[in-house]
């Protein structure tokens, strides 16, 4: 699968890291990349089910382009949101829908996080894609 240039760069950056703690630190840092969804608008509609922590996302269209915002009480989960928003924000809905969650595996994230966490990532990814499909319809 071909990825947007900024995502390819990020994948390469993660692949260069061998130390597990360092890789997790990079995911932590990605938490700042997510457009913050304020806690007071968290609701059952924004909740990501299947995450062990409290995690929420909201997907809207800004001038016809995907705009994902989110928040989580765990830094690693929010970091994963940051990575996903780098992958899809600014893309046309049809283009964003072409994205496969495999990029997280290529970055070593799914290997580096627990199955519970990885499922959380997958659940987050699936929810975001579902929201995009709804907006597109």
């Amino acid at each position: 699968m071909t990825y947007p240039v900024h995502l390819v760069e990020l994948i390469e950056e993660f692949q260069e890291v061998e130390d597990q703690m360092e890789r997790l630190e990079m995911v932590f840092e990605m938490a700042d990349e997510v457009l913050v969804l304020a806690v007071d608008v968290w609701s059952d509609e924004t909740r990501i089910l299947g995450c062990q922590s409290e995690a929420h996302v909201l997907v809207t269209l800004d001038d016809g382009k995907v705009l994902m915002s989110g928040g989580a009480d765990a830094q690693l989960v929010q970091g994963l949101m940051g990575i996903l928003s780098i992958a899809i924000n600014g893309a046309a809905p049809a283009q964003a829908l072409l994205l496969s969650p495999d990029f997280a595996t290529e970055m070593g994230i799914l290997n580096s996080l627990s199955p519970g966490r990885s499922n959380g990532f997958r659940n987050m990814f699936d929810k975001v894609m579902l929201e995009i499909r709804r907006l597109e319809a």
Binding site: Q20, L24, Q52, L113, S114, R117
Partner: protein
């Protein structure tokens, strides 16, 4: 590493995780297996694999001896007259709910539970309550992490069954079981003890203890996963009706109906967990070589050291670590999320558990949704605990 000879019996302790030596501190979830357990199960499959009981051939005889040998060991180890082999604590409790509860509880009867219970000692009773209209009463947990015994005593009026956890899997608190059993019996209620966390740490004399039912799992005491037991007092055993029907639990079957075995087989329909029983028996054999009381004290010292250091680092520790308690240390940092901490610890080889530990009512009572939990067992050392604390300090400096 200070040399602890028994560590050599556990091959998994030689492995590394992410390039770091494994420090396994998730023993309240499951314990590691000594080589003798692995060998016993492998030997069974390599030499004696057969179904148990009726066949006359040699292999069936060996398999039956292996399977029933585990039951004999359970009866000896716990001084119990009846030992039903189950898939674990959860199935054992569900068995009481179905085999005893359905036969003996009716609308308006009451069951007393506590806020400290594992989900496996809550959900089966909620299901029974829905089906039969049975009332469930919960004994609250106080701020000092103990049960409110005044409420407990008051809850006994009209109660038919008391279900209580021996030792909390979150707090490590050992409940005042002797008083609970005595009061419950005086009120005419039977008592079920969830000993999933208690049985692995102390020798329990089931007969002297006086409980009517006691459930526990092999995998939390160096045995295999997939097997556990329900110990039952003879009078309670007589009050149990068959739950699962099938092979092995019957005496005769005709097209008109069936008659059932009178012994534990009545509750073990189908091909049982033969290799697991053989492995568990080997685990008991391994544990027999230990001075459990001495080992328990050593583990508790490690837990106390950990709790003290964590408090000194600004963590909230949930538990008290009194003499009879288990070596479980649940804690939270005021800023760093429990899951983040567990992942960061895993990155350097430390296996801890995070989440609600299947005790959501207890965590709700404590006003939290998760903890990080470090739990120690025989093969853990004080040096591991010291390194754990040192590693946590590094993590907090870098991430909190």
């Amino acid at each position: 590493m200070i040399y602890l000879a028994l560590r050599d019996d556990f091959p998994i302790l030689q492995r590394t995780v992410h390039g770091h030596p494994l420090v396994y501190l998730d023993n309240a979830a499951t314990t590691q297996k000594p080589q003798v357990v692995i060998d016993a199960m492998s030997e069974y499959y390599s030499r004696s694999n057969a179904n148990v009981h009726r066949a006359v051939h040699t292999l069936a005889g060996e398999a039956t001896d292996g399977y029933e040998g585990c039951r004999t060991r359970l009866k000896t180890w716990f001084n119990a007259e009846r030992a039903i082999l189950t898939s674990g604590t959860t199935e054992a409790i569900n068995l009481v709910a179905h085999a005893w509860g359905r036969a003996n509880l009716t609308k308006d009867d009451a069951i007393v539970l506590t806020e400290m219970e594992h989900h496996s000692d809550i959900v089966p009773w909620q299901m029974l309550a829905e089906e039969r209209g049975v009332e469930i009463r919960y004994v609250p947990v106080l701020d000092d992490f103990t049960l409110d015994m005044e409420v407990f005593e008051a809850s006994l009026v009209g109660a038919k069954l008391v279900c209580v956890v021996h030792t909390s899997n979150v707090l490590g608190v050992r409940n005042p079981l002797e008083r609970i059993i005595e009061s419950a019996h005086a009120a005419g209620a039977k008592v079920l003890i969830d000993a999933a966390q208690g049985a692995p740490h102390v020798r329990i004399d089931f007969d002297a203890f006086g409980a009517d039912f006691m459930a526990f799992s092999a995998h939390k005491m160096c045995g295999p996963t997939g097997i556990g037991a329900l110990l039952v007092r003879p009078d309670a055993f007589q009050e149990m009706q068959p739950f699962m029907g099938g092979g092995d639990m019957i005496e005769t079957v005709t097209t008109e109906g069936s008659t059932y075995q009178e012994n534990e087989h009545k509750f073990e329909a189908g091909t049982p967990r033969i290799a697991e029983a053989i492995g568990w028996n080997a685990a008991f054999g391994w544990m027999e070589s230990l001075d459990l009381e001495k080992e328990h004290k050593r583990m508790l010292e490690i837990a106390r050291y950990t709790a003290k250091e964590l408090r000194g680092m600004g963590m909230t520790v949930y538990g008290r670590h009194d003499d009879g308690d288990s070596a479980v240390v649940s804690f939270l940092h005021p800023k760093l999320h429990s899951e983040d901490m567990a992942h960061l610890l895993d990155a350097v080889g430390y296996a801890v558990r995070t989440g609600h530990h299947c005790a959501q009512p207890l965590l709700h009572r404590l006003g939290i949704t998760s903890t990080v939990r470090a739990s120690y067992y025989f093969y853990n050392t004080m040096e591991e605990a010291e390194k754990f604390i040192a590693q946590l300090k590094i993590i907090l400096e870098r991430f909190a």
